[in-house]
Symmetry: C2
Subunit: 429 residues, 2 copies
C-alpha cells in the first residue's frame, strides 16, 4: 500500500470536526477504498481553547492557516474557514503554490473567484475539489462533472438552501407568518450570522453559479444570477397556492438559451406532488436534465456535520486515489464567457391581487392581462364578507416574463387594486 | 491533448447504438471533458445487415467479438452483448488479458461472475466499469464507490426494474389485473424475451447483488438474494393498500445485520407519499443510507437508449481520464464472504384475509396473531353484501418475519378463512 495521504484541516467548525471524526472512525475503510491510509497531520482554527466534540490531541496545532497550507508534512489542504476572500483565498493559493491539492466547502469563494483559482490550480497540476460546497451530502458536483460527461446539459434546478426550505415548510405546516418563523429559525441557530445570505437567496445563488459553470462549460458568474430571497413570501400566498395544488420553493434554475445563459434563484411555484414540491424541511434536491440521460433527481441532506463531512471525504478519497480532474470538469482555459440573459423562457405565472368590491373591477384586470397578451388558465375569486376587498387568484397560461412585467406595471393604473399585485413564476419541473 | 481513446463496441442493440450516437454527436464535448478525443475504431454485432439507426460506415466491422476484444487498435472493449456467460464473459476476459479496459452494462454477468472478473482485471491493472448495469442513467455505482467512500453504508434500497414498476403503476391507475397488464407490457415490447427475468425479480436481484457488494465490501453473491417477483400481486391488494396510504413496489433491500447480510427483492408496501411511493412508470430510484451522509435518494430513467448510453459514456470518460479504480470500490482480494442471512429485521406487515361471515371468526384470527406475539396497529373490515365472505385488512405493529410466518401457517387451522392469507412487508423508507 502507498504512503499515507496527509491532511491539514483549516477550520474546525461543524464540518471540520465532522471530517476529523470520519478519519478517526473509518481509518480501515478509507485505506481500503483509497488504496492508502488517510491521516490528519495538523489542524488550525481561530480559537484553540474552544471545547470541540473530537479528540485533536494527535494533530499538530497551527495558529496560522498559511503555515498549515504550506507545511512540509501536508499533502492536502482542507479549507473549511469560509468567506469569499481574505484568509480562505490566500491560504488556498499558498497551498496550491506549495504543491498541495485543495479540498474546500467554500461556495462563496468559488462563486466569486472560481475561475481564477481553477486557472491557478490547473497551471500547477493541482486539484481543487468542492463537493461539499453545493447541496451538502448530495453528490451533485461529481454527478455533473463525471457521471453526465456524455451529456449536453440542458437545465439544472435545485432547492439548495435548507434554511429557506425549512422556513417555507414550517410556514405552511404551522400557518405562521414569515417573521415568526424567521425568528424561530434564528433561535434554533439555523441562520448564518448575516441571515440575508440565507433568506436573501445569496448562498443558494452561489451554489447555482457553480453548477451553471459545470453544466454549461462557462466561467462562473455569480453577478449574473438574478436573485430574489424569500422575504416577501407571505403566508397568504403559501395558503392560496396550496389550494391550487402548488407549493412555494426557493428554486434555482439555470439554462442555456439562444439569448444567453439564464440563472435565477427565486421563490417559485412547483406542483405539490412533484419531487421538488414534496421536499420538506432542510432537505436539498438538485434536478439535472441532459440530452441523453433525461432527468436525474438527487436528494439528501443539504447541510449538517455528517452529510457535509461525507462530501469533503469523497473529495479527499479522490485525491488519495491520485485523481485530479479539471476544477469545473473541463480545463478552465476552455470555459467560455456566457452572455448573461434575463429570464425569457415562458412559463405559467401565479398572480394574486386584492380588488375593490365594485362592478367592473375584474373586467378591468382581465383587459390589462389581455392587452399584455396573457391568457388565463384558471381564476379563483374568494368570498369577501367584509365587502371591502376581493381576493383574486389567477394562474396564467404560459407567457413571457416581459408580458408579466408589463401587466404588473399596468395593473395599478386600473384603480381597482388594493395594494400591489403578487406574482410568482410556476416552474415546469 | 493526448492520443485518442479508441473504443471497440460489441453489441449494437439499443444501448450500443446510443453510445455510437453520443460519440458522434458530442466529439468536442467529450474531448474537452476527457482531455483527449474519444473515437470508435470497430464494432461487432450478430447481424451486420440489420437496419440500425446510426451511421456505422466509419467503423471497422468485426464478425467475431473475440477479435474485437483483442484488436490492436482498441483501448477499451465495450461489452453490450449481454448474458451471464458465454461470449460476453469470454470476450471480456480476452480483452483484459490483451491489456484493454472494459466497460459493460451486463448485470447478469457481474452478479454471477463479478468476483472472478474483478480479480482478473485487478491482477492485470485494468478497469472494469459498469455504471449502466444498475438503474440505467442513475449514477449509483459512482455514488457508492466514490461519493460515499467516507461512509459506512447501512442500507441500500431500490426500485430497479422499470418494467415491474410500470406494471404495478399501470395496474393501480387503470384498475386492471396483473395478467392484463402483463399482456399489454408484452405487446409494448417492455418485457425481456424471457419475461421471468423481469417480473420474476431476477434482473432486479442481479442489480441488488452488485450494489450489496459495493455497499458492504463483500463478494457479490446473487444466490443469496431472497427473490420474489410481482406475479402474485393482485389488483385487490393494490386497491386495498391504497386505501391505507400505501403503494406496492418491487423493492430491493440490502443491509448488514449482526446475523449476516440480508438481501431481498420482493413486493413491499411503502408509504404512498414517500419518494419510493411516488415513483411511477419506468422510473428507477435508489436509496442509500450511510452513517455520515444520512439518506441519499437518486432517481432517473432506469432503461432506454439515452439514459443507459449516458451511463456507459461516463465510464468511458473515466477511462479516457486514465482513472482505474478497484472494480467494486475496494480491491477484490479484500472483499469478504458475507454470511447470507434470511430477513430478520422487524417490520410492520400488511395482511389480507377473507373471513367466513360467522360469529367469532375475527376473534380466532386475533388469537392466532396474539399467539405469534404480533400486535395489531390498524384493522379494517369491509362490507360484505353477499353475506358469505368478509374481507379484513390488518396492519401489524413491527414484528419479525418469523412471527409472520408462524401466523401465516397457523391461520388456515382456524377454519374461518376463505383462501390463503396474503402478507406483504411494509418497508421503512
Amino acid at each position: 500500500m502507498s504512503s499515507p495521504l496527509r491532511l491539514g484541516i483549516a477550520g474546525l467548525g461543524t464540518v471540520g470536526i465532522g471530517v476529523v471524526k470520519i478519519v478517526q472512525k473509518h481509518a480501515g475503510l478509507l485505506a481500503r477504498r483509497s488504496g492508502r491510509p488517510v491521516e490528519i497531520t495538523a489542524v488550525s482554527a481561530r480559537d484553540r481553547m474552544k471545547n470541540r466534540d473530537a479528540d485533536l490531541s494527535a494533530f499538530r496545532w497551527e495558529t496560522d492557516p498559511m503555515a498549515l497550507a504550506t507545511a512540509e508534512d501536508v499533502d492536502v489542504f482542507v479549507e473549511l474557514i469560509g468567506g469569499d476572500n481574505g484568509i480562505a483565498k490566500d491560504s488556498i493559493e499558498a497551498a496550491l503554490r506549495a504543491g498541495k491539492d485543495v479540498v474546500t466547502a467554500n461556495k462563496a469563494l468559488l462563486a466569486m473567484h472560481g475561475q481564477e483559482l481553477a486557472e491557478l490550480a490547473e497551471s500547477l497540476g493541482r486539484a481543487i475539489r468542492f463537493e461539499a460546497a453545493v447541496a451538502g451530502g448530495i453528490p451533485v458536483i461529481k454527478t455533473m462533472t463525471e457521471s453526465l460527461a456524455g451529456n449536453d446539459i440542458t437545465r439544472v434546478m435545485g432547492v439548495m438552501n435548507g434554511t429557506c426550505n425549512y422556513i417555507l415548510t414550517r410556514m405552511a405546516s404551522a400557518g405562521l407568518p414569515y417573521a415568526a418563523v424567521f425568528e424561530e429559525a434564528r433561535q434554533l441557530g439555523y441562520l448564518e450570522a448575516d441571515p440575508t445570505l440565507d433568506v436573501g437567496g445569496i448562498d443558494a445563488g452561489h451554489k447555482l453559479a457553480i453548477l451553471s459553470s459545470i453544466a454549461f462549460g462557462t466561467r462562473v458568474n455569480f453577478d449574473a444570477v438574478e436573485i430574489e430571497g424569500i422575504e416577501r413570501v407571505s403566508i397568504d400566498d403559501i395558503n392560496r397556492v396550496a389550494d391550487m395544488g402548488y407549493r412555494i420553493k426557493l428554486l434555482g434554475v439555470a439554462q442555456m438559451t439562444p439569448r444567453g445563459l439564464e440563472q435565477r434563484m427565486s421563490p417559485c411555484l412547483v406542483p405539490a406532488d412533484s419531487p421538488l414540491g414534496q421536499l420538506m424541511g432542510g432537505t436539498n434536491m438538485v434536478v439535472i436534465e441532459g440530452d441523453s440521460v433525461g432527468q436525474i433527481v438527487l436528494r439528501g441532506a443539504g447541510a449538517g456535520e455528517g452529510p457535509t463531512a461525507s462530501a469533503v471525504m469523497s473529495d479527499i478519497v479522490e485525491i488519495a486515489r491520485d485523481i485530479r480532474l479539471p476544477v469545473f470538469g473541463q480545463p478552465a482555459a476552455m470555459l467560455t464567457d456566457a452572455v448573461p440573459a434575463r429570464t425569457a423562457v415562458p412559463a405559467a405565472y401565479y398572480l394574486r391581487i386584492e380588488l375593490l368590491d365594485k362592478p367592473g373591477a375584474l373586467a378591468k384586470v382581465a383587459t390589462v392581462l389581455s392587452d399584455a397578451g396573457i391568457s388565463i388558465d384558471r381564476m379563483r375569486q374568494y368570498g369577501h364578507p367584509d365587502g371591502a376587498s376581493v381576493p383574486v387568484l389567477i394562474v396564467t397560461d404560459k407567457t413571457t416574463p416581459d408580458a408579466i412585467d408589463f401587466a404588473i406595471e399596468a395593473l395599478p393604473g386600473t384603480g381597482v387594486l388594493i395594494g400591489d399585485p403578487v406574482e410568482l413564476r410556476i416552474e415546469e419541473v
